[in-house]
């Protein structure tokens, strides 16, 4: 493993200035479960690691007036064990309980999962489907954007050098809303998804008409994506099996599934067609 200095700032601004002053040879590290592996494999050779672990206040999970805020340094395990997330946002539990192992989830952070920006990142799909915004701070100050817009390609985000993802803000959901995520894998644990499908459904008072829908897809494009054609089919409709089937078909057509070592494009598309209706049904159950 290559050698590096390890810097441990205690504030966000100190972390940013340490990174900027060290320039390209410096890299942020949070839980380290991706960074350390990349260093060991020789994929990156930083001279400095700037640790975010001792920065206070970045790992809070707060829920107020229907709005959920998750600090970027919150570990997957903190999310998994959070009573408020379990009760109000079970779609996040769907994702985080099957990421890595307990050992990984105890240290790997949700912010790290997102900024690493691999197409198979399980954390991103439910967050995008919930309409999460990200708050970012860097040398030039603070900014916010939709998480969906943060991604520009595999492993690439809009984060500038020195910018830190601070937190995710999930706005209050409409009444009668439920959401669900499924990670489709070949085995039950220690696995990356063949694909991931999340669906959010908001229902009218009749509990059968869909007033709004979001469909998030993972591993089905270079970045996490929304299946907007599928969403449009659901919106305003009485949800029948036929409507769900059509939405699944539309999502399968608009995704950019490809062949990879873990699965073939045709199979992925067919599973989108199957899993979109399945997750929509579960989301509707949870909306009740």
């Amino acid at each position: 493993m290559s050698k590096f200095e390890y810097l441990m700032p205690s504030t966000i601004d100190e972390a940013i200035s340490l990174l900027v002053s060290r320039g390209e040879r410096a890299k942020f590290i949070a839980g380290g479960t991706d960074v350390m592996v990349k260093i060991k494999e020789g994929k990156i050779t930083p001279h400095y690691l700037v640790s975010l672990r001792r920065v206070q206040g970045l790992d809070q999970i707060t829920y107020k007036d229907g709005e959920l805020r998750i600090g970027a340094l919150a570990t997957h395990r903190m999310l998994e064990l959070s009573p408020v997330i379990r009760k109000e946002f079970p779609i996040l539990i769907d994702a985080v309980t099957n990421i890595g192992s307990v050992q990984i989830r105890n240290v790997a952070t949700i912010g790290g999962n997102i900024v690493n920006a691999v197409p198979s990142a399980d954390g991103a799909i439910p967050l995008i489907t919930l309409g999460a915004q990200v708050r970012i701070r860097g040398p030039k100050g603070e900014r916010s954007m939709a998480l969906e817009d943060l991604y520009i390609g595999p492993g690439q985000t809009l984060l500038e050098p020195g910018e830190i993802l601070l937190e995710f803000v999930i706005p209050k959901l409409p009444p009668r809303t439920g959401a669900a995520y499924v990670k489709h894998t070949r085995r039950e644990a220690m696995e990356l998804p063949l694909l991931g499908v999340a669906v959010l459904m908001s229902l009218a008072e009749d509990m059968t008409t869909c007033t709004a829908a979001r469909i998030g897809l993972g591993v089905l494009a270079p970045t996490p994506m929304r299946a907007r054609n599928g969403e449009a089919i659901l919106k305003g409709q009485k949800v029948t099996e036929e409507v769900l089937h059509k939405a699944g078909k539309a999502a399968a057509e608009e995704c950019k599934a490809r062949d990879s070592i873990r699965g073939e494009a045709w199979y992925r598309r067919e599973m989108v067609e199957v899993l979109v209706p399945r997750m929509a049904r579960l989301a509707m159950e949870r909306a009740r």
Partner: protein, 167 residues
Amino acid sequence: MKKEISFVLNGNRMEMEVDPFWTLLELLREELEMTGTKYGCGSGECGACTVLVNGKAVNACLFPAVEIDGASVTTIEGLAKGSGELHPLQTAFIEQGAVQCGYCTPGMIMSAKALLDENPNPTEDEIRHALAGNFCRCTGYVQIIDAVKAASHAITTKGEMRPRKAE
């Protein structure tokens, strides 16, 4: 440049200088010569290097050594009492035949300890979920899961409920 850190290892206060690029596993095995914790894959996949940091199971192979400053670390060497009396998990692994080559055993036991400290009476599903990050390539998982169940039984029936925090 070396960094000075202080931490608690298996109940003993430690102060030492570490290289900034060491992992916790290197610190334990190479510097402290505590070889109970094993090096398996080196990338957080196999769990052979599992230790507890502040009571939580982590992969020591990915954990920067400097980050244990101020923390409490428990390794397999810290489970048996000074008198030589084994931890109920160690006894159960022996009695249930859950040790064949033994390479995955320290990691298995540390993951199981983290589970039983939090949840002394887990279901089989909870045991499987907790041990999903520990690979065994020879003993087989049936005996290992039986051993965790037996240890859970021994702990809960003897009233030997352990505190949630690491010692």
